[in-house]
Symmetry: C2
Subunit: 373 residues, 2 copies
C-alpha cells in the first residue's frame, strides 16, 4: 500500500490532531502504521480507538471516488504540500491536539502551497457586528488585492466576511473546514463554499462526508494558524474559537494581530485581552497587516498624522508671538510683545514674517489674525 493510500485510510480512522498517531507516522511511516492497525496490533492505544472504524474501510475506492468529484488528497512530499505545516510536527500539543495533518483533502483550482506561501488568516466571532464584518472584509480585500492569500474557516460572521472580501477583489482565498470538503457547514454557506472551490481552495484533513464536531474545530484551527504567516483576529468574544487559532499562531511563532473595537462591545473583548497581554499586535487596517507579515522593511506603513497645518513649521517663539495676536481688533506690536512675553524688536520682526506667510494682517499700525486663517 502506498503512503498516500495509507494516509487516506488513517485520515478516515483517526480523529484529526491525534498526537499519538502523528508521532507513530513520523516514526514508522503511514504504511507501516496502517499495517499494524490492520493486524490489530494496539500501538499506544490507537487501535482500540479506531477498531470500530476498521470495518468496510476501502481507501483506494475513497480516493478514486473523491477524484471523480474533483477532490484531491495532498500528502507530505507532494509539490502542493504547504511548507508551513511542518512547524506543527515540532510544536507541543494544545488542548490534547497537535501534530501535522496526515494529508489534506482539497477542492478547488488553487495550489495550496502557492496560495499559502504568502497568506494571512482572518478569523473571528461568528456573532460578529457589522463593524467587525466590514473591517474583516476590508482587510481581506486589501491583502488579497496584493496577492496574499486569505485563509479562514467559512463560518458565519468574520470568516464569511474575510472570504467575501478576498473574493470581491478576485484574490486568493482558502477555506479550511472541520468537516469533509464536500459538506457545507454551516448549510447556509453552501454557495459561498462552492464559489471558493471554483476559484480558490476548500481544504480539510477529514475525508469527504465527515461531520464537524467541537474537537474537529479545535484541530482545524491549528491548520489555519500553521498555513499562514500570521493570524488577524477581528472580533472574538472571550470564549471565541478564534482565540484558539490565535493561541496556535502564537505557539507556531506566527504573527498574531488583533483589531480593536469599542470596549463596550462583547465581540471585541477577547481581542482586547490578546492585545493587552501582548499576544497580538494592534492593527487597524490592511496596510498594518501587510507591514507585519512582510519581510522587514517591505510594505512599511506611514502612521496617520493628520493634515499639516501652516502653524506646524513655526518655531516655539514664533508661535508664542502668533498666540498673542488678537483675532478681531488689531493690537500694536508693543501690546503684542507684552502679551507674548517677548521683546518688541523681536516681535516686530516675527510679525512681519508671519504676515508674509499670510497668517496675520497689518493695518494702520495694528496687527490681527488673517481673516482666512
Amino acid at each position: 500500500m502506498t503512503d498516500r493510500v495509507a494516509r487516506a485510510a488513517l485520515s478516515r480512522l483517526a480523529e484529526p490532531g491525534d498526537v499519538r498517531l502523528a508521532a507513530l507516522v513520523a516514526e514508522l511511516g503511514a504504511s507501516r502504521v496502517f499495517d499494524l492497525l490492520r493486524e490489530e496490533r494496539d500501538v499506544t492505544g490507537v487501535y482500540t480507538d479506531v477498531a470500530t472504524r476498521m470495518c468496510g474501510l476501502d481507501p483506494e475506492r475513497e480516493l478514486a471516488d473523491a477524484a471523480k468529484r474533483g477532490i484531491r488528497f495532498v500528502v507530505p512530499g507532494d509539490d502542493e504540500w504547504p511548507t508551513g505545516l511542518q512547524d506543527l510536527d515540532r510544536s507541543e500539543a494544545l488542548q490534547g491536539r497537535g501534530g501535522g495533518p496526515l494529508g489534506l483533502w482539497v477542492r478547488g483550482p488553487l495550489s495550496l502551497r502557492s496560495a499559502c506561501s504568502r497568506s494571512v488568516a482572518v478569523v473571528g466571532s461568528r456573532s460578529a457586528t457589522t463593524y467587525g464584518a466590514d473591517v474583516a472584509s476590508g482587510i481581506a480585500a486589501h491583502v488579497a488585492g496584493l496577492a496574499v492569500g486569505v485563509v479562514s474557516g467559512a463560518a458565519y460572521g468574520i470568516d464569511q466576511a474575510a472570504h467575501r472580501g478576498a473574493l470581491a477583489v478576485r484574490g486568493p482565498t482558502v477555506a479550511v473546514l472541520a468537516c469533509g470538503v464536500d459538506r457545507a457547514y454551516p448549510t447556509a454557506h453552501r454557495a459561498l463554499l462552492d464559489y471558493i472551490a471554483d476559484t480558490g481552495a476548500v481544504v480539510s484533513e477529514l475525508p469527504p462526508g465527515s461531520a464537524p464536531t467541537k474537537l474537529r474545530f479545535l484541530s482545524r484551527n491549528r491548520l489555519i494558524a500553521a498555513l499562514t504567516l500570521g493570524t488577524v483576529v477581528v472580533e472574538a468574544a472571550v470564549r471565541s474559537g478564534a482565540l484558539n487559532t490565535a493561541r496556535w499562531a502564537s505557539r507556531l511563532n506566527r504573527v498574531v494581530m488583533g483589531v480593536p473595537g469599542p470596549v463596550t462591545s462583547a465581540p471585541s473583548e477577547g481581542v482586547h485581552e490578546l492585545i493587552r497581554g501582548q499576544v497580538a499586535a494592534l492593527v487597524t487596517r490592511g496596510s498594518d497587516v501587510m507591514e507585519l507579515v512582510s519581510p522587514a522593511g517591505a510594505h512599511l506603513t506611514v502612521p496617520p498624522r493628520g493634515d499639516e497645518r501652516p502653524h506646524d513649521r513655526l518655531s516655539a517663539r514664533e508661535l508664542q508671538v502668533l498666540d498673542a495676536v488678537p483675532v478681531l481688533q488689531g493690537a500694536t506690536a508693543a501690546s503684542i510683545a507684552r502679551t507674548a512675553g517677548i521683546p518688541e524688536d523681536e516681535v516686530v520682526a516675527t510679525l512681519r514674517r508671519l504676515a508674509e506667510g499670510s497668517l496675520i494682517e497689518h493695518s494702520v499700525g495694528l496687527w490681527r489674525l488673517a481673516s482666512g486663517g
Copy 2:
C-alpha cells in the same frame, strides 16, 4: 522679598515651562532671580523677554487680591506641594517646554498633595464621541469612587466627561488650566469649573487673569502628567493635545494607558497609535486602570472569561463522546463509539457519566442530547 512673593512675581513675568527660568531658579533661588531681573540684569536672555511685563508688577498685592477671592498660591516646600512635580526638574524639555512650575495657583478645598498622591489623569479629544465620553466618565467614576483623584483639563469632550464622572460619585477631581483659575475656558464650562472649585481643586501655574494660549496648553499638559500616577487617553485624533500629555507621562515614567475604539473612528486613531507603539497599555475599564496604577499585587483584575459551561469540565475524550451523541433521534452506544472513534466499553461508561451530569438522555437503548441542554 520672600520666596513665595518672588515666585508669584516670576509666574506673572515668564511664560510657563520656560526652561531657562526654571534652571535659574533651581540654581539661585526665586528671590535672587527676581532681584536680578529688577536690576535689569539679562541672565540667559530672560530679562529681554520679560522686560515689557515688569511695569506695574506688584506681587504682594496680587497675592492678597487672590486670597480675597479664595485663590491660594502653593509653592515648593508647602505641605500641599504635590510630590510628583519634582520629576519635572529632572526630565528633559519637550517642544521647548519643561521644568517644574514656579508655583501653583489653586482654587478649591482639596489639598493638592493628597488629591494627587493617588490620582489618574483622564484626558482626550475635545471632539469626543458619545462612546468616548461614556467610557471616560465610567472610568473616572470607578477610580474616583475608590478615592483616586481624577485629574483633567476641563476642556470639552473627554476632559469634561472625566470630571463629571468623578463628581457623580462625589470623588476627588482636579482641573488643571492653561489660563488663570479665575477664568472659565471654555466659557461654557464656567459652572463645571465653579463646581470643581467647590468640591475639588482648580489649578494653574499662570496667575489669575491670564489668558490661555496654544503654548500654555502644551505647558499645562506636563503638569497633568506629572501630578498623576498615570494618564488614560480615551479618544485622541492623531493631532490631539492628549497625545502630548501621553508623551509627557511616558517621559516622566508614568503609566500611559489608552482606551481602544472602532478602527473606523478618527478620534480613536491617536490612541491606537499609542497602543501599537507600546507607548500605552490597552485598558477597557476602570478596574484595568486601578490595576496598572496600584502597587504590584493590589487591585488585580480578573480577565473576562465568560460564563462557565457544563462542557468546560469534560476531558477531551468525554467531549469526543458527547460530540458523537445525536441531538434528536437517539443512537446506540455502538454507533456512537464508531462516530467518536473510541472503543465501545469506554463509550458506555462515558455515556453513563454524561447522563448523570444531565448532559444526555437515555431511553430504550438509545442515547441523545438532553433536551434542556
